[in-house]
Symmetry: D2
Subunit: 278 residues, 4 copies
Amino acid sequence: MTLSCADRPGITARVTGFLFEHGGNVLEAQQFNDRTSDAFFMRIEFDPGEASRERLREGFAKIASDHAMEWKLALRDRPRRVLLMVSKFDHCLADLLYRWRIGELPMDPVAIVSNHPREAITHTMIDGVPFHHLPLTRDTKAEQEAQVRAIAEQTDAELVVLARYMQVLSDDQARHFAGRCINIHHSFLPGSKGAKPYHQAHARGVKMIGATAHYVTADLDEGPIIHQDVEAISHADTPDELVRKGREIESRVLAEAVRLHLEDRVLLNGQRTVVFRG
Amino acid sequence: MTLSCADRPGITARVTGFLFEHGGNVLEAQQFNDRTSDAFFMRIEFDPGEASRERLREGFAKIASDHAMEWKLALRDRPRRVLLMVSKFDHCLADLLYRWRIGELPMDPVAIVSNHPREAITHTMIDGVPFHHLPLTRDTKAEQEAQVRAIAEQTDAELVVLARYMQVLSDDQARHFAGRCINIHHSFLPGSKGAKPYHQAHARGVKMIGATAHYVTADLDEGPIIHQDVEAISHADTPDELVRKGREIESRVLAEAVRLHLEDRVLLNGQRTVVFRG
Amino acid sequence: MTLSCADRPGITARVTGFLFEHGGNVLEAQQFNDRTSDAFFMRIEFDPGEASRERLREGFAKIASDHAMEWKLALRDRPRRVLLMVSKFDHCLADLLYRWRIGELPMDPVAIVSNHPREAITHTMIDGVPFHHLPLTRDTKAEQEAQVRAIAEQTDAELVVLARYMQVLSDDQARHFAGRCINIHHSFLPGSKGAKPYHQAHARGVKMIGATAHYVTADLDEGPIIHQDVEAISHADTPDELVRKGREIESRVLAEAVRLHLEDRVLLNGQRTVVFRG
Amino acid sequence: MTLSCADRPGITARVTGFLFEHGGNVLEAQQFNDRTSDAFFMRIEFDPGEASRERLREGFAKIASDHAMEWKLALRDRPRRVLLMVSKFDHCLADLLYRWRIGELPMDPVAIVSNHPREAITHTMIDGVPFHHLPLTRDTKAEQEAQVRAIAEQTDAELVVLARYMQVLSDDQARHFAGRCINIHHSFLPGSKGAKPYHQAHARGVKMIGATAHYVTADLDEGPIIHQDVEAISHADTPDELVRKGREIESRVLAEAVRLHLEDRVLLNGQRTVVFRG
């Protein structure tokens, strides 16, 4: 269960008291009192014991209403349905699918959508996951995005992962998937616009490169940040070597962000996130 | 307030309920349910409001007794009294005192004890902190340690920090200061015995060096670990350069461990620690 | 070209002078003067221009003989033939093969050998690489190792990578592949013996875990270290989570070590290595 | 000796040949062939043996002239004269002076200049280093900068370190000290303008903060980068805690950049640097 609301005394007592009365056994719990915005965030992982999900949900609705909470009760034993989008570079896709196959990511990949044909993804084992080739031009973008939404609906996709999908979503599409679409931005600062970030990093002579995973908002690279990482580089690294190192950071950062989301460890706090790492 | 006890359902509800009833306002709270040992750990930082410390203490004693808790209620506005011990190398001492002077470490350094004379510590600004030169030989060790204990008692020292104090404490002394004495071990693995760790690291050709801060137990370098960090090195680093890099890691790791202790963020969990970073 | 010898004045001048006279154009050059052992190490990557490999080799033999050098002249345009060995956990294997397929690792995987059947490796795309199932018991170890050597010979394998191959090589086998066999040791210190390193790390309460890639010697986990890395962990990480984080570090560290070896960036310096990162 | 020039075959051979003929013994040598700009960079640390500095200088002038080199021959046994500038926050100053006193930084601090009075720097041991209080207003900036230049001249200062000197140098001043003035920029990207970077980082919800040390150019925060580092942060870090972590990164990054400069390990490559770490 995750919840957020305005910070008032007694919330923790009331929530944990409720779970205790209904026979729930807390396995992991975290809270964050954001003193700068007087907001309260909580994540409780618990064994419901004999309590049914429905009774918990009904009972808790009263508390939630009293505190004007945003809240969610999710089952850990049901993997989330995930729609993966990719363009030509498939290192993030390969990494996510491998982690899924060995049981590391509790997800159910319901579809792969690419603007490139199936033959472009030759390095990755995608057997069994339906592949949709949805090319687009400037003129057909609206139509293609509608197709993506249709696939998401048909597959009941709960999360969309842009695994190096190199097309900017329209504002409408970004809004449609708000809060359930994760992007990997292949440079340290999400704000740094422009193509070929590793060539830019080389030209500027920076000594570190990085990647940022964030929720997609209408403002593509400015959404709430979930996770970031960097790696030291040197003058001797060519742009090609930066690209190689970048692949590694991108895969790592995106996989971690997806894991955190799938385990309901990320809560939105305005334009920021609260991440309960556990 | 920090507490630990056996993990049973309802503890969080009872503790936070108690604070709420007494008008306390939670500022920061963390808990950890150790499923491997069925132990429960909690740290709550709260504004007591109008409740007096004594009333809280009395009221909470009942809960603590019901759950056989180890617990502690500390005031954040009173800095801890700290006894600093050092030998010749004063980089950790200099770093701790600087952080104290700029208000980063909430401590009150009541004494510096060294087995070397005051003149050996020329690089560090220790003005105002009483300095005790307590040399020792194998024959006078017991006597010297008694003097250290006497100073700790006279100054009401709540924490002893071995800031590169290069003498092994006797088992008795270690036991006397158990749980309130922090050491910095100048190598990554606390267990790696022996002098000149950086020369050892060079001879072995390792590619990383590190430092470990831990509570002192009778088994000197095996106490519960509070914090660790490492840095990458290369074949080109001479032993002298490793010593230089080591100074930096040692200072950083010890200062972080002392800060975590001073803010009551470290709880003992058998031979391990629970660290609530906040 | 890589070379090592006793350090005497004038070596660099002579080697680079020779290349210049023969029309070679240096692309990248590194040297290391080990003052602790008076040894000299050099790696030069050069465009031979019109000089044939044979002429360079002949011409250089005289210099090498004068300085009692160990040296090697390798062509960058020919990928090395690599024999991969694996047991049940295939994350390192999957990672190495993916990097090979996207052109990141200049190798030619000539065979995969496992003590488990093909069906155990279901998560990895190994199509096209011959798979050999060579199970072993204590009694058949010598025989199995002879089969491995036979495959290495038949395939002209220049490098053997133990990608989480969980069998200890016999001293004879280790000696046979000395200097051309890389192992990944799934814990930070190569010396820390014993099974289940992540469970050990959890029990000990360490705050960092890591991995070490090294050349195999008769003393299995004590060979010259090529690369190491670590990651911070916390009290909340269960052994299972440590295993997950460990997979990531292991894959990363082994891939980097293999890359460094394939690009001839690793020179042996007694029980240590000189690594020219470029 | 450090040198840079256009990359042509034979440079290394000629330079090392020259040193060998004059009896120099190479202790450490690095070169970098920048293939993107066809530039060549070299640093050689050598024991001149019986050769006098003057003879080497004269002899080498011919080679340098042939290759249109920029070059420098420096004596390691003479520490550089350094002018330190600081405002109110003295953590970088304290750190640099401590490292100097224990012999880690081969420098001779000839003056400290601050726009705040001596009393503002109470936490740092600056005994023995002349302190100059040079306040400034918008109107007196030109005059104050002239005073700084005068002090630099009188003291023969070879390097100016802006150790959290919170005044923007005028273009003229920046140009005057070009290539010999190091600044610490208290945020990861030198380009990110604006005050209160840690508050900005908090508001943006980034998961890492960092610092950049660079040479000062007329474009204050855009000069060639010498060194950078970052640290992970979380949603729970308040702006104050970011400031605390920032102090640590700033001190560390500036000290490393100053050390690299003092040991002549930094060469300019247009708007970038070549850093020979050794």
